[in-house]
């Protein structure tokens, strides 16, 4: 039975091609031991094994990694607390609680009316499907390529807003502070804000010294 294995394959693959019959006599003869050739030649190949964690292979650009909450160029947060990300999430991994910005008491975190006061992503639930970043209307929420998210306890895998917020880039002023004077919320989205203004810097200086003296 072992000598009649090949039912006629209905394609012109290497084994059924009559034109090749001459050269294939030898290969037919050695076919049962052709595997040794594969094994032998593999010895001279580059090994495909990845040496993680000694060498980390960079991910592809679109890789779905850890989330990040972004800031406008002047340091205000982009998140407007709209909860769209939480709505879109099929795994119910996101918890958002919005609150009103209030210029009077100096509590302005984002341009516009609202900001995300509480923001949590539960990485025990998250399936990295990226529906949240597709839902976010302000590019407040993005996914980075960071993938080392394992931990040894559950509590630490619920990331809070301070862990998710993007670090302050040079020139940015940490929120809260007022919006750029004379600009509206939509100007932020149209890319008209490029960095903090002297007025904002002054406000932050005054405000932080206030706080310090109050302490």
């Amino acid at each position: 039975m072992a000598d009649n294995p090949n039912a006629k394959p209905r394609h012109s693959g290497a084994d059924g091609d009559p034109q090749k019959s001459e050269s294939s006599f030898l290969s037919d003869l050695f076919a049962p031991v052709a595997g040794f050739g594969v094994t032998f030649s593999t010895m001279f190949r580059k090994v495909a094994t990845e040496e993680y964690p000694e060498q980390k292979r960079p991910t592809q650009l679109r890789y779905h990694g850890r989330h990040q909450l972004n800031r406008h160029p002047d340091g205000l947060e982009k998140c407007v607390g709209c909860e769209l990300c939480a709505w879109a999430c099929p795994a119910d991994a996101i918890y958002v609680e919005g609150a009103d910005n209030d210029d009077e008491s100096g509590q302005r975190y984002s341009p516009g009316e609202r900001y995300g006061r509480v923001y949590q992503i539960n990485y025990l639930r998250c399936i990295f499907c990226a529906l949240c970043i597709e839902a976010c209307p302000t590019r407040a929420l993005t996914m980075t390529n960071e993938y080392e998210l394992a931990d040894n306890n559950r509590a630490d895998l619920i990331f809070t807003k301070d862990q998710l917020l993007a670090p302050i880039q040079s020139g940015m002023l940490p929120a809260p502070h007022p919006m750029v004077e004379g600009m509206e919320e939509r100007d932020y989205y149209q890319g008209k804000v490029t960095g903090p203004t002297p007025d904002q810097e002054k406000w932050v200086r005054e405000h932080s010294s206030d706080e310090e003296s109050a302490e």
Partner: protein, 456 residues
């Protein structure tokens, strides 16, 4: 055990549910092998003069393809009866989908048969599109991308089938080569969709985003390498006397058996019937691609293995054609209808991947209407008119069907999948009874069931 299963036992099946009614009499001695000294047990069994042994293979057995439980009745080394026990990986995916929007459903169904996620997504989206009546409006480019991804996935799935099958026979080199080649394909998936598995890439109405720059070159580079790697597996296996001794005439299921049991895919085609839904009932424009349906007629595990190997080459042939088309024809990848199309426009920047700044400017800075659309689609989703639709596609394992029922709402009233692994698994009994225990492994490997898909 609940009372009603107990009453079922009185009808003639044993505690394993393994026996057919009537073949267990009340005074058959039962020997339970739990702990203790094996020799004692053997002596005891010998003393009872009872040759028949029921063995549970799995659900935690390395060679049963995940959590498949095989209940084997042995007479010596011969399997007299074999039954598959399933349900150890039930995840409630179909039920969960009833509580999520149509778009979110993709993230669930992609996890059913995790070795062929893109087929799960594709069949679900095709069914939703059919229920919506927008099948004709899917942009050409989206269809080509779907075919590209599916065919790459088919190759990857077959590579896994062969690799794990080889491992179960003790051929670990086959395993390492198979996974090495699959890795090349997964890299393309990661590049296109951001994920290697469970991609959430094909969406109702099109695909999530266009393929990235450089993808076409990468695929062009990869395809010959996978051809070569597959050739290496062929060199290792095709004429290998050990492999042939173990697979030829083993796991035999003829055409009548296949038809009676509803077996499809490489199993059916190993029995000589060239039934392939890509040809029989084309979808996504498969009628415009040039490829062969691979058949053999020896009905055994060897034929199934060879079919899979040949199908990898055929799939890569289709991939080449897709790449040609994608290179030439740019275009949209999502339906035009703004009431259905998922609104995201993604881009990658220094801050990671998120909605592109152009899209943000439009919805937040310029057009109130776009913003309302965006909000509505994300929070509520689109509505599918009341009715139902069934679509079947040719997955690596066979006919994968999706039946969606809508009551007119934004969520499925019911989404059901005909997973090929589930139906094919029925053939275990027919393929392994009468053979030896070692042949059961080969038979199961040649069915290539993935329990995530079987149990859903």
């Amino acid at each position: 055990m609940t009372t009603h299963t107990n009453s079922a036992h009185t009808a003639g099946s044993d505690a394993f549910g393994a026996s057919t009614p009537g073949d267990v009499d009340a005074d058959t001695p039962v020997l339970n092998a739990v702990g203790g000294d094996w020799d004692d047990l053997v002596d005891e069994a010998a003393a009872m003069h009872e040759e028949r042994i029921v063995v549970n293979m799995g659900p935690q057995h390395p060679s049963t393809h995940g959590v498949l439980r095989l209940i084997l009745e042995l007479d010596g080394e011969t399997v007299t009866e074999a039954r598959a026990g399933i349900g150890y990986l039930h995840t409630g995916i179909e039920k969960n989908m009833e509580f999520r929007t149509w778009t979110q459903g993709v993230t669930f169904c992609t996890r059913m048969d995790y070795v062929m996620p893109l087929f799960n997504e594709a069949v679900y989206c095709l069914a939703v599109e059919k229920a919506l009546g927008i099948t004709d409006q899917i942009p050409e480019r989206a269809n080509v991308i779907r075919v590209l991804m599916m065919e790459l996935n088919r190759a990857a799935s077959h590579l896994v089938a062969i690799a794990t099958g080889g491992m179960e026979m003790g051929a670990t080199t086959v395993m390492t080569i198979g996974f090495r080649e699959r890795e090349r394909i997964l890299e393309v998936f990661e590049m296109v969709s951001g994920l290697r598995m469970n991609n959430n890439y094909i969406r109702p109405g099109g695909v999530a985003q266009d393929i990235p720059a450089g993808c076409i070159d990468k695929v062009r580079e990869m395809v010959p390498l996978v051809h070569k790697g597959t050739k290496e597996i062929e060199d290792l296996l095709n004429e290998n006397p050990i492999l042939k001794a173990r697979t030829v005439d083993v796991g035999y299921l003829d055409l009548t058996g296949c038809i009676a049991l509803g077996a499809t895919g490489p199993i059916l085609r190993s029995a000589g019937l060239p039934y392939d839904l890509r040809k029989a009932d084309p979808y996504c424009g498969y009628e415009t691609y040039d490829f062969e349906v691979i058949t053999r007629d020896t009905c055994d595990s060897y034929a199934k293995l060879r079919n899979r190997l040949d199908e990898i080459h055929e799939s890569l042939k289709i991939v080449d054609q897709c790449i040609e088309r994608l290179d030439k024809n740019p275009g949209p990848v999502m339906v035009e209808d703004k009431k259905i199309a998922w609104p995201a426009q993604m881009s990658v920047g220094g801050d990671g991947q998120g909605n592109s700044l152009d899209h943000i400017r439009e919805i937040m800075g310029e057009s109130m209407e776009s913003l309302i659309h965006h909000f509505k689609l994300v929070t509520e989703g689109f509505r599918v008119p009341p009715g139902q639709a069934y679509v079947a596609i040719e997955s690596p394992k066979g006919e994968l069907g999706c039946h969606v029922v809508s009551d007119g709402g934004t969520r499925p009233y019911r989404a059901h999948f005909r997973d090929p692994s589930f139906n094919n698994l029925q053939a275990v009994a027919a393929m392994s009874e009468g053979g030896s225990v070692a042949d059961v492994i080969i038979a199961v490997a040649s069915i290539d069931p993935v329990m995530g898909g079987v149990d859903r």
